[in-house]
Symmetry: C2
Subunit: 229 residues, 2 copies
DNA sequence: AAATATTTTTAGACTTATCTAAATTATCAG
DNA sequence: CTGATAATTTAGATAAGTCTAAAAATATTT
């Protein structure tokens, strides 16, 4: 039997290319406007010179537009490709949490690998198997197969005022440390939170979660998304 | 957020190394004895000179023993590593067929990619999720986490004599063409087959499957494993 | 607006895994 | 046992993706 080699390297885009597109996609959402070489380098933990090389390559492939010294913007093609990688990442995260009972702070690195498996059919079937979820375990929206994302009007918990209530719909940062803190406090997607008090001096809050009342710092409030009730 | 790069390239062995180990493992099982450079090259669809390079690298890592012009043999370490990759491949195949309803002739290429995802925990949980299966959808045994394989005493259908019965337990070749032929004839793992007649001239047979009786060539009989009943 | 600092790019080098072509070793037939 | 053939290895080159160091462009400060 002869083994076909590197099936997945033939599939349109390389691992490195997909990772660059994904990073640029995320940076575009935050920054609104051209994404700088340095920003990409920092996010990907590489050197700016490496970014320049790759960005030129992606520009030749029409996945982004690039002018020397001016930063980059994804083209429609590039955005769709990036969204597709993110779709795969988030679907796999749902699989890991819902089916394999991983904890929501354990799935990122594994999904980081799974997202590069190339097979349209696989993702389509995985999506169906999971019941076509709209959000991943951290509350982030899962792009559809055309790369479109359902945008929801969510706020940061820190934007709520005293006496307002909200339901947790996602996290802005998803480091293990933060997710484990939330677990300890019994906060997860769907948890209802009431603001009992807010300190203007340092932005800290007293909140109620179930029967428990406790203090949270500004940093916590600025990393938790809620929808007001 | 800073993204750690190439998490999975840090995980002990590269994609290429894992593929070489897997190929050599399979060749060792067939060949009984040293595996030649040319045999590896043919199976992996590369050139012998590339094989020599990689084999020297794997020898330095103590994954196999190599003497110039004499071929290679896996060490215990190498064999265990290879078996682990095969374990992952076959568990993913079970997942694809049992959970995502893929057909048994569609799963190989996808599993070929999934097998390189590095996470012990993932495989351990996947195994449990699937009910710790012993065989993949083609009837091939799934090595346990220590790399040990349950060997079963299976025969080729072509070894059966007239009037003997057997249950299909696997296929020797698993090309799409062959698997699709078997489907057309309603033969799958677990199907009972009775030999009604055998032609010594060309090795062809007349067999009974369910209510159907039909002719099969020698080549078919030599690629189907059965356990006698 | 010139001087300084920062960002970005270029140039050249390295690593991994591959290739071709040439050289070497082994094997087999007579 | 010797020469022909086949298998294997070596040497040098290539491509992708990265790096360092230096040069060029842009931004900021005074």
């Amino acid at each position: 039997m002869v083994i076909k080699k590197y099936i997945y390297l033939c599939s349109m885009f390389s691992l490195a290319e997909e990772n660059y597109l994904k990073a640029i996609y995320h940076l575009e959402q935050q920054a609104k406007g051209e994404v700088s070489t340095n920003a990409i380098a920092e996010r990907m933990d590489t050197k700016p010179s490496s970014v320049t090389d790759m960005v030129q390559k992606l520009a030749e492939k029409k996945l982004l537009s690039y002018k020397r010294y001016k930063g980059v913007l994804l083209t429609a093609d590039g955005r769709k490709t990036a969204a597709n990688v993110i779709r795969k990442h988030r679907l796999w995260e749902v699989f890991l949490v819902e089916k394999l009972n991983f904890h929501w702070d354990e799935v990122h690195e594994i999904a980081e690998q799974l997202e590069h498996v190339h097979s349209e059919e696989l993702i389509s079937r995985l999506d169906k198997f999971l019941g076509s979820p709209d959000f991943d375990p951290h509350g982030d929206p899962i792009p559809d197969k055309h790369g479109n994302v359902k945008r929801t009007e969510k706020k940061l918990l820190s934007e709520l005022e005293k006496k307002q209530r909200g339901v947790c719909v996602g996290v802005r940062e998803s480091s293990s440390e933060f997710l484990q803190y939330l677990d300890k406090k019994k906060i997860t997607i769907g948890t209802k939170i009431t603001v009992l008090g807010k300190e203007f001096f340092d932005g800290s809050m007293i909140i109620q979660v179930g029967r428990d009342q406790f203090f949270i710092s500004k940093k916590i409030g600025e990393n938790l998304y809620v929808q007001t009730l």
